[in-house]
């Protein structure tokens, strides 16, 4: 992995390779297992202004080829993050992406402003967490809420900002466009799908929070479709996220139109997963004789009839 044939440009940021962890599935604890300087970027768990204790347990439940989580963004708040955690992350040279979660556009803006400090390379705007409101509502479910939040963040910081979208909408394209228009430098597609599980014995929802977010291989076909769907409608990079567990999954996302990817749940199954995927991607690039992995970005869209195949929503076509 000597050359930079795996490196990708995501907005103003140059990444060593397209593989990074997904927010909330990664922490410095993983440094016991892999070398963080081999990753494309580091992405923190979402940070809120005030400390949050998170949701009551159980916070996760396994489902077929997936899992539901309802952690509820447990974190010690932004001040603690800056004092205690930021110095830890600064041990590595890899760019740091800090994920933020607010309660209003102003709340997001305040967080982004506060986090515009040395050591933070990018702000990921988590407007899609399904575990803050019971039932799963999040701003990214509507183009309007997306626009207002990203716009507020855009005005509050000079750092690159990534908008993390939700798959819980029938209208991904409008939401993606709204994020772009509001000034996002990249789109992360996507957060988890709202789901639930019920215990037939107790007759109660299994998660303490009733509903939770579905992630893992089970959701890959859905999120991959969303990346493919959005790709022709935006000109900022897309970062694919959902169900990735192998280099082949990364290739699928890149072919659909993603410039980089995030690996979430699979880190729980195989803590060395991300570095194994990076190694396999490098082998792929070697085998295929590519100068750069970016050559394949969007290739599955070739010959696509854009107007017919791009959007789930009629309204975004008109």
């Amino acid at each position: 992995m000597s050359s930079d044939r795996l490196s990708v440009q995501v907005g103003p940021l140059r990444l060593k390779n397209p593989v990074m962890p997904a927010s909330g599935t990664f922490s410095p604890d993983l440094a016991e297992w892999i070398d963080f300087d081999q990753l494309g970027a580091l992405v923190t768990k979402s940070v809120t202004w005030h400390p949050r204790a998170g949701n009551p347990g159980p916070r996760c439940i396994e489902t077929p080829a997936g899992m539901l989580n309802a952690v509820g963004i447990q974190n010690k708040g932004v001040e603690n993050f800056i004092i205690d955690q930021l110095p830890v992350y600064r041990r590595w040279k890899t760019p740091l992406v800090v994920s933020i979660s607010g309660e209003s556009p102003e709340g997001y803006a305040r967080l982004a402003h506060r986090l515009t400090v040395p050591g933070v390379q990018t702000i990921e705007v988590n407007i899609s967490c399904p575990n803050l409101e019971v039932g799963g509502w999040s701003p990214a479910m509507e183009a309007d809420g997306t626009y207002r939040t990203i716009r507020a963040v855009r005005e509050a910081t000079d750092l690159p900002i990534w908008a993390k979208l939700t798959p819980n909408t029938g209208d991904m394209v409008s939401v993606a466009r709204a994020a772009q228009e509001a000034g996002a430098d990249a789109l992360v597609v996507a957060n988890t799908l709202i789901g639930m599980a019920i215990d037939p014995h107790t007759k109660r929802p299994k998660l303490g929070n009733v509903t939770g977010g579905l992630s893992g291989p089970a959701v890959k076909p859905i999120v991959l479709r969303m990346v493919y769907q959005i790709y022709p409608h935006v000109n900022i990079p897309i970062i694919g996220c959902g169900g990735i567990s192998r280099a082949d999954d990364v290739l699928e996302y890149l072919l659909a139109g993603a410039r980089a990817v995030q690996v979430g749940t699979y880190n729980f199954v195989n803590p060395r997963g991300m570095t194994e995927i990076i190694r396999d991607l490098d082998e792929y690039v070697e085998r295929e004789g590519l100068k750069s992995i970016t050559e394949i970005v969007g290739q599955a869209n070739k010959g696509r009839i854009f107007s017919a195949s791009c959007s789930c929503s009629r309204s975004s076509e008109s």
Binding site: T25, D29, W33, G57, P58, C60, A218, V269, P271
Partner: protein, 264 residues
């Protein structure tokens, strides 16, 4: 004592009663574990079941490079585990978490466990005996055939009492008087528990009354087992405040005093 990914080889996987299995895995690099720690086991090379299953250490044989587990066959993960036969490989991640700690000054310890929790306490008994401590144990279960590891504790020279639901001997007030009796009569410097909310509550109270330290090994649904996902968090008292702590990382063994029993 650093954790790693191991490819173990099943040496033995046999029924102990009708619901428990005793499994011995050859994994020479994994024998660096202490009682109370756990391994995170992967049960399929495919994506269903997806997540690993945590299992505490039932025994370690450093000479032969063996790690032992004793598990309750409950759902599909443990059913798959039960289907493994000698020679099969098993993917083990660990050892993980913070185990029990023994103070070499202690003369005797009391273990109070129930169900699968007995599996977690057994290797602690062994370690205590090796350190010259007296071990007392009260083992609780629904039925006598679910009283696992009684023989093992007997062999170690522990003094074991058993109580079961079907015999009507496992009620909390019965166990309470048994514990009081032991604490009164014997030199017990610490208590340990695992496997029951009711017994944890009881032991927290009694340890407090008697002014002796206690430890409890907890269970919670786990995502990663590595401290990253915050799925296994429960609230604990520490230094006069409530902290949400990770069972996989700050635990699974906690001081009895810091546990908020109603949140278990």
């Amino acid at each position: 004592m650093s954790a790693d990914l191991h490819q173990g080889r099943i040496v033995l996987n046999e029924w102990v009663g009708r619901r428990y299995k005793h499994m011995v895995v050859e994994a020479p690099d994994a024998v660096v574990a202490v009682p109370g720690q756990f391994f995170h086991l992967r049960l399929s090379s495919q994506w269903d079941p997806l997540l690993r299953r945590p299992m505490s250490i039932y025994g370690i044989d450093e000479d032969r490079g063996w790690v032992e587990f004793l598990y309750h066959v409950r759902g599909r993960g443990t059913a798959l585990l039960a289907g493994l036969v000698p020679g099969d490989t098993l993917d083990l991640l660990g050892p993980l978490g913070r185990g029990f700690s023994l103070d070499s000054a202690w003369r005797g310890i009391l273990l109070v466990g129930r169900g699968a929790g007995l599996a977690t306490l057994a290797p602690l008994a062994e370690q205590a005996v090796q350190s010259g401590m007296d071990v007392f144990a009260i083992l609780s279960a629904r039925t006598p055939d679910r009283l696992v590891s009684v023989d093992r504790l007997h062999e170690l020279g522990a003094r074991v009492a058993t109580v079961t639901d079907v015999e009507g001997t496992s009620e909390v007030h019965v166990v309470e008087s048994m514990v009081r009796e032991i604490l009164h009569r014997e030199s017990v410097d610490a208590v340990f528990t695992c496997g029951s909310r009711r017994l944890t509550k009881l032991m927290q109270r009694l340890a407090d009354t008697h002014g002796i330290p206690g430890q409890v090994a907890l269970e919670e649904n786990m995502g990663c087992g590595l401290g990253m996902c915050y799925c296994c968090v429960k609230p604990f008292f520490r230094e006069g405040r409530v902290y949400p702590l990770r069972v996989c990382r700050e635990g699974p063994v906690f001081s009895l005093a810091e546990v908020i029993v109603d949140e278990l």
